[in-house]
Symmetry: none
Subunit: 209 residues, 4 copies
């Protein structure tokens, strides 16, 4: 723990790093993720291929890095009305998902994650989890205010909510719009409130006469 000055660490060229990320994004936009190649990124960035391989393990990793530069942080509002807030938030997410500079990239990265566990982990840990924390916080707040039952598995609730949006992002079998965002918010929060009824026998949902 003596001389530990840090500069020793890296002579990495920031210029090249940025050029690579820019090129990766541009190529994704222009040709679609599948058609992007390391070779093309290198050529476009005016960089040797080695420079990419030196710092990233795979194409997915590069694109993931590049992707974070366009990935907006959607604010989670707190008006006191948790349903309204979720509607607002999910509408924001939908807006992001339908942005041509974002949605397709996220889809492609989830696709890539099917084969490349490194991409999956990075996507989850670096991107998804941090962003969801804020939403979980908002829901936790609602719990504290007794607007939601206390014993809810908030992570799972988030997954249902996001899963619904991902479904339309990935499979495109329906419009990914504000109405859908509202619908999801209502169904899921509605379901949360209906949830604790462990005794379901007389609930209208459960038993045909």
């Amino acid at each position: 723990m003596t001389t530990a000055s840090k500069p020793l660490a890296s002579r990495r060229s920031e210029t090249s790093r940025l050029a690579i990320l820019d090129a990766a994004l541009a190529l994704c936009r222009e040709q679609g993720y599948a058609r992007v190649t390391i070779e093309a990124i290198a050529a476009r960035a005016g960089v040797g291929k080695q420079t990419i391989y030196r710092w990233w393990p795979s194409k997915g990793a590069v694109v993931l890095d590049a992707f974070e530069r366009v990935a907006a942080e959607i604010p989670v509002p707190d008006t006191g009305d948790v349903l309204a807030d979720m509607r607002t938030f999910l509408t924001g997410v939908v807006r992001l998902f339908t942005d041509d500079n974002f949605g397709p990239h996220l889809g492609a990265l989830i696709g890539e994650a099917q084969y490349d566990p490194a991409v999956r982990t990075a996507l989850l840990e670096q991107y998804l989890k941090p962003r969801r924390a804020a939403v979980a916080d908002r829901l936790r707040l609602a719990q504290q205010h007794r607007q939601l039952p206390g014993e809810l598995d908030l992570t799972a609730v988030l997954e249902v909510m996001f899963g619904a949006l991902y479904h339309r992002l990935l499979l495109r079998n329906g419009p990914l719009d504000q109405a859908y965002a509202h619908f999801v918010a209502e169904i899921v929060l509605g379901g949360c409130s209906a949830q604790p009824t462990t005794d379901r026998s007389h609930h209208p949902v459960t038993q045909r006469k």
Copy 2:
């Protein structure tokens, strides 16, 4: 009134077709979708590459075809209790999704669908939609029995339900098990019943005091 001879249609070799689909499945199982190549399928099936290219537009299409041969039809029970039935059904889906001969393939195909619109369409039309029709029917029945509100968009409901499962299939950030299946069924059906409250002002979910 002769038996309508239509033999002209296709000189396609059924033997080759089956050999190709078998080879595709086997390779997927052994090496994972990403490592499967048309070349390998052809070699394994003892078939010329051209024979594959003649009848399928892409690797995804071949695997999708092969995939349908292992894709079990999950029965949608009707006990009168729609929530119980959905729990049962979703548990079946979860079981399928966690089958090593199925889940990863489906994930990979959804991944492929991100780049290959043909795969996306085929996946939706040939695989997903037909299977969901039965579930939609069951929900429609519940509507008729007034267990679910009548004005629900059942397609969207299904998407929320399946989206929740897909989320864990694709991102693996939580266990894809019976408990999750039940949780999803309860949240979503619960949400459906809570839904019609277009006037949300006094609903416990919506407004902090």
Copy 3:
């Protein structure tokens, strides 16, 4: 040798045969021999591939057949002056060789003959030898008239003569024209007359001072 009426032999379609030969020639002209394929000939002729394979052993054989339909017979004049006659004859050959509908085909066939012995044999026996017989006759006549020595190997003389022309046909390192035809005739016939000098010691050609 009894019932020997011929029709039993072949139900071969003359229409197809001609269509194939025409197509072969046309394709040679348009794309060059190397780019001609059996597939293309069949398509162009509106004929099944099998029909070609049934009647010819190889592409070379088809083209050779087609080739004979454009291969003119060069007349061998007999004016009494063998040198003049050879000049005339070789000029005719040169004219044929430089015909775009002939020279390149002959070159290609000789090229093909390097790999395909059947083509070589057919080319020699069916095409070259018959045509050379007339020239050999003319030279034999000259021998009888003592214009050429009697013990000459006329076949070899012809080969020298034609070899000279083939050289320019195949390698194109000089103009294949009348002047060259005359030059060759003079050199070769001149050499024939100078030939018999088995005693070469005092001949100007042989011994430097």
Copy 4:
């Protein structure tokens, strides 16, 4: 006055180059030119196909390059007797042409030259012309010594001479042996000496009485 370092020029791998040429030759020997493929050369040489395509335009070009490594330089003797020298030289050429490691390759390359102009040019410029220069020199010397007429077109003379040998190399309609070599030398040189007679009217060759 430093030793002009020009190292920048080429990072081409000499090892690969040689491996490719060796493989090409070996395959020609073993299977014949027509059956050699770039794929096989690459495999045999332990080289990527791209490495071949990077440096040679066609199979013909590779084989031509390889071919030059076995193409012996036939010495052109100068004993003072030009006819004897040509007999000797042509006998050497015949010996080379009948060498199984040479003759068939040359034949095949001339065949290839019919379709591939690059091969034709390279064959002429890189192989044939340089070798013929020495023969032309020898003939020029004979002219200076008045053993041959001064106004002869030596290039054309060479073509007649070589054409005669090529004829038998390519069409194999007679033995390619010493006797033929001598015959060709005598005919052609004899014809050269007889040549200058521009007035041919009284020449024994020309006019039947």
